[in-house]
Amino acid sequence: MIEIDYIYPEIFLILSLLILLVLGVFKKNSYDLIKKITTICFLICIPIVYLNNINDLVIFKNSYAVDSLSNYLKILILISTTFSLIFTGDYIKIQKLDKFEYPLLILSAVIGMFLMVSSNDLIGLYLGIELQSLSLYVLASIDRESEKSTESGVKYFVLGALSSGLFLYGCSIIYGFTGSTNYYVISESLKASTNIPILFGIIFVIIGLAFKISAVPFHMWSPDVYEGSPTSVTSFFALAPKIAGLGAIIRILYICFENIYVEWKAIIIFISIASMLLGAFAAIGQTNLKRLMAYSSISHIGYVLASLTTNTKDGVISAISYLNIYIIMMISSFACILLFKRKNIYFENINDLSGLSKNHPVIAFCFAATLFSLAGIPPLAGFFAKFYVFKSVIEANMIFLAIIGLIASVISAFYYLRIVKIMYFDDQKDKFDEVETLGIKFSILVSSLIILFYFISPSFILEFVEVASKIIN
């Protein structure tokens, strides 16, 4: 079978999952070893995915797409997951989470994400979502001693199962009306005729996916899960699953539902506006950094969805570029959050950061740059991300959406700047522990440099993304 040549990345990851599992079971205290090998596997997988990118294909009877878009998103997933593995080394040791299953569950979640971004069929998408979510449920409750972690795992599981149910219900309605679960067939039959009941199916499918990327009004789980899970897991939640969810949404909206743009446009506009505004307002009252990052990620998802409402190639390009910059900013901010510890106790409240600039000027500067960038202040990377989104939205004649986005980003600037104020102008507190590990230093260095010097060549990411989204017409 020739088709198997195009799924080498997935085969490689599944085989390494199985081999590492056996290794972990038979070797005692093998967390360090397994984590290192998993990281290396991700790094090896990047060239495998890249070399796979020869021509755009849809294999397995049109149910699995191996094209530039999916390969680009896969590489993005691999890079962000590698970062979230290397900058959490210390934390996992200190919190005594160093079980060998931890990297393996991340590995299996990545396999699920690969399926989500590549799937060209509703069944495949569902299996990908389940594989990813099942690993994430376990990761959320991995700290068995902590009540909060267990609570967040159970909450995530119950709500995730509910959303999977809604998604499947939508799929069954679509299947009932079109007679197929394949995106191409669905798209063809939607071109021929649309009726009201099939819209229900589409709405349910969108709800299921919106839940996975925690867009309002399906965001309720996200602050609790972000706060309750161990910070290393939270950082993973904020990175890779968003890429996978948005990859699935782009494919389903632009390929499967391309012929009923008018119908889904209104839904996505509503979700996008609600996410931007709620992310901006609800974060104001937060005192916990992880909760704040949860609301922040909700509002960022709103901006990405805003650029997807345009139904143009530019919209997709700006959405993926935004996602790129969002990933870099989240890597930087979570690496900083993982530094705030005194005598091996981690601090998560905003007030714990007061006077950080006097004790640790470098960390404070990096964190402040990240926060300015999250707020979208020029000339940092976050500004360009928002610029692309507003440009594509205005070009599609949706000025109201751009105005709401601008208002939301001004409001959200308030809470980012409040942290900067606390770090720079409030009373000094005790020093945090010195950084020893290389991984965390490396992550902060790389991400802060990109954030600070992105303006030198803003078209750098755009060129890649343009190649990636050439399959969208």
Binding site: K61, L105, L127, S135
Partner: protein
Amino acid sequence: MLAHAIVFYFFSIITIFSSIMVISAKNTIHAVFFLILDFVSISCLFIMLGAEFLGMITLIVYVGAVAVLFLFVVMMININFSELKSGFLNYLPFGSLIGLVILLELFIMVGAWKYKPEFLNTSDLTFSKNISNTESIGNVIYTDYIHYFQISGVILLVAMIGAILLTFQKRDFLKRQSITDQVSRERSDSVIIKKVESFKGVKIDD
């Protein structure tokens, strides 16, 4: 035809009777046994429909695994179900309303199916009647849907890893038997012969 009808009504009556008994039995163990009876008769009905694969899967999965698990749980945790059932009369009107709605929906569905010509009926399905269910499922599951089949396997593996990770506890304080240690034990390891001189005694712990 008559024999077919007799067998069908026989199993249907058992199904309905045992499902009523599941919710009305006083003893929870009896309720679980009625559940098992229910599953068995449902699988017989499946086999009568010609869906022998589904019938066997029902037997294996529901009777073999799920119901037995229920039985274990019921026996182990000893819940007083009569207390749980005390609100039965309060919920009866609402519950029967929902039951009525579901019944009406069934009527509507069957009505639409019967009287709407453009609806698909079984004669439109394309399948070969010469091969058995199991064979036709196997034909697609190992060819067209091989990747889904493999991924389902990975999902089950992840579920297993997760369940073990969240529930398994290492208990270091337990003393375990080590057969190699026992077998390789020599007489000289544990027995010392000492000469005890009179009126001097002997020190043991040194």
